[in-house]
Structure formats: C-alpha cells, structure tokens
C-alpha cells in the first residue's frame, strides 16, 4: 500500500518535470506556429504582402482586419538586412519577431519620426564586426540586433476606414527589405586601409 502511494507521488513529481520540459520545448517543436504558417507563402529576404484577413482564409488567427500586412521573412546568414518602409497616412508600424515568435522590437511611424522608417537588421556578431567609426554616421540609421539568425518582420499599415485600404496596401508595396549588397564590404574595407 505504501509502495503504491510512493509510486503515485513519484509519478506526479515526474509529471511536473515532464510539464516544465514540454512547456519549454513547445515553441521549438510546434509545427503550426506563425513562422511555419508563413514560410510557404512568403519569400526569403523580400517583402510579401499578405492577403486581407477574411473569414475563409486568414494566414494567422487573431489578425486585425483593419490593417494591410506585409511580411519580410529574414535570414541573416549572408549578411545584414536593410529595411525601408514609407509611412502611410494613418498609422504604420514595423514589428520584429524571432524564429520562435518572440516580439523583440517594434516601432511605429511616430517614434521613427520621419516619412520613411529606415532600419538595419543584423545579428549581434555582425553588429560587433561593424567598424567603430561607422557608428558615428549611424546617427540616422537605426540598427536592430536580432537575437536569432532567422525571423519575421511584420509591416502593418492601418486603413482607418475600409475605403482607405488600397492606400495602406500601396504604401506597403513601396517598402523594401533586402540584403545590403554593395555598400558594407566597401565601407568595411576602407578604414582598415587607412590604418
């Protein structure tokens, strides 16, 4: 009898361990998370506009139907990314998510404070590899450190009335998200040449 009681207690305690491990592991093993859902319909390192949310097909649950949404699925393996988003009339925001949907940074048009939101996205290692004196000119470039090499950038533009939706979508079409192809290698080479 005591042995059975002991077994149950041991089982429940072990169950607690299983619970903690599975909760921590769930974000990694989930197959229907936002990143996995968006992967087939988005291009890597490019802006893809999502279809408007409607009852029959919505790429993700709880999407706000008042927003035009575009996704840039990024992979920083080959170098930093440059993001340019023109501000729409009403409200524009850019949110950054890691591979496991942690929202590590978000900015809106007002905090960006100008007509175009311009950001550089790189991993911490790439940020550290930036030449020191480049940071001074970085005053007008906002640099975001991504905790993971891959992730999602969500660009949103609000249509305050349904009739304004085409305008909101147009402002997202004009946005871009691409590798910094030519500029950084040249800049990175120049300072070492001077010294």
């Amino acid at each position: 009898m005591i042995r059975l009681l002991f077994t149950i207690i041991a089982g429940v305690l072990l169950g607690g361990v299983v619970h903690l491990v599975s909760v921590l592991a769930l974000p990694r093993i989930a197959s229907q998370d936002a990143y996995s859902r968006l992967t087939p319909m988005t291009k890597k390192n490019a802006v893809t506009a999502l279809p408007l949310a409607d009852p029959e097909n919505a790429p993700m649950p709880f999407m706000d139907p008042a927003f035009a949404i575009a996704i840039c699925r990024y992979d920083l393996a080959d170098g930093p990314l440059k993001l340019t988003v023109p501000v729409s009339q009403a409200y524009t925001s850019v949110s950054f998510y890691t591979r496991n949907e942690v929202a590590y940074y978000a900015i809106n048009d007002r905090s960006a404070g100008r007509k175009v939101i311009e950001l550089d996205l790189m991993t911490e290692a790439q940020h550290n590899a930036l030449p020191e004196d480049e940071e001074i000119t970085a005053a007008d470039r906002l640099i975001i450190d991504s905790p993971t090499e891959t992730g999602l950038i969500v660009l949103k533009a609000l249509a305050p009335e349904p009739g304004l939706m085409p305008q909101a979508q147009a402002s997202l079409v004009a946005s871009s998200c691409s590798m910094q192809t030519d500029a950084p290698p040249v800049k990175a080479g120049a300072p070492s040449g001077k010294r």
Binding site: R3, L4, T7, I8, A10, G11, V12, L13, L14, G15, G16, V17, V18, H19, V21, S22, V23, L26, P27, A30, Q32, D33, A34, S36, R37, A53, D54, P55, A58, M60, P61, F62, M63, D64, P65, A66, A90, Y91, S93, S95, F96, Y97, E101, V102, A103, Y104, Y105, A106, I107, N108, R110, S111, P147, L152, V154, K156, L158, A159, P160, E161
Partner: protein
C-alpha cells in the same frame, strides 16, 4: 514483476500529468502576467523579449503573432462585466471610453481567432469609423440582427471573443488599474 508494474505506473502517470497540464496551460492560458480591467484581459509582457514560457507555448500553439509593445497592446474579452460568456444570439453593448491611444480597433472573432462571416463584411470597428455621442463616449451594439448606430454583427454564433487593440498608446507593462486605462464596459442587455 511488481517492480516493473510500479515503474510503468509511475511513468504513465508522469506522462499523463505532465502532458495534460501542458495542454491545458497552452490552450487556456495562465494568469501569469495578465492585466485584467473589467471584462478585458491583456498580456503586456507578450509583446516584449521577456515573455513568460507559458505565453510562448500558447503563442506557438495557436500560431498567432503577439502585438509588439512598441506597436500597441491587445485586450480581449470572452465574457461581459457580470462574467456571463459573450453569446452571439444576445444583444451585447460595449460602451464608454477607451484609454489614450492614437488609434484603436475593436474586432469580433470566434474562440479560435477566425473572423465571423457576415453579409456586411463588417468584422470590427476602428476608432475613426465609430459614431460617438457629444461627450466623446460611444456605444457599440454587438448583435446578430441589424441595429441602429454602431452595429457589429455576430453571425449568430454561440461563443465569441472581442478584441480591443490600442495602437501607439501609453498603456502597457506599467499599467495596473482602471484609472490608468479606462476600458469600455460590456453588458448583455437582451437575450432571447
């Protein structure tokens, strides 16, 4: 023989207890770090890098993207002020004022996060579309049949959730009470 049986029992029990509790917390959510004002609940930490593991698990399971803190905050309600679950066959009135924000949107979802089909193609309101009283307050009627004023159709579904999203708002991790964030009231007025 007895030892094997007992070990197996303990392991089976561990699996059932462990995975069962994970399933429950991932689908229903926990009260960890929630901000509740009236019938509305938000998880301000979900939009930051220090989101708790339980919220991460439920986000991964549902497949949504939480709204980032620099962007805004999402409040959801599944019951009215008297804790009665929101019923699409009843008339529900959402009235009052909202916390300071540049824009807000109020959207109706079913419990799984899908929009509800209706002939008007109206799934929610934005702060600019709403018709307000002279004192700035508003009243939205959530009902299956058309109503005068701000009518939000439910499509007659039994259970739904309302989501109020504030964009560019001071409401966030530091918000605690109704005084910081005056949320609209939700009341069921007429039920067949």
């Amino acid at each position: 023989m007895r030892l094997i049986f007992i070990t197996l029992l303990a392991l089976v029990l561990a699996t059932v207890v462990g995975l069962g509790s994970t399933y429950l917390t991932a689908t229903r959510g926990t009260d960890l770090g929630t901000l509740t004002i009236g019938a509305w609940t938000a998880r301000p930490k979900s939009g930051t890098a220090d989101v708790d593991p339980y919220s991460r698990a439920s986000i991964a399971r549902s497949g949504e993207l939480p709204i980032g803190t620099g962007d805004g905050i999402a409040f959801s309600a599944t019951s009215d002020d008297k804790r009665k679950p929101l019923d699409g066959r009843c008339d529900v009135v959402v009235s009052g004022v909202t916390p300071a924000a540049r824009f807000w949107t109020l959207t109706l979802f079913d419990r799984k996060g899908h929009l509800v089909a209706n002939s008007l193609k109206r799934y929610g309101f934005t702060s600019q579309e709403i018709i307000r009283g002279s004192d700035g307050t508003f009243e939205i009627r959530v009902a299956s049949r058309s109503r005068a004023g701000n009518w939000l159709p439910t499509g007659g579904i039994e259970r739904y959730a309302l989501m109020l999203r504030l964009y560019d708002t001071p409401v966030g991790v530091a918000t605690r009470t109704q005084r910081d964030a005056p949320m609209p009231s939700i009341s069921t007025v007429n039920c067949p």
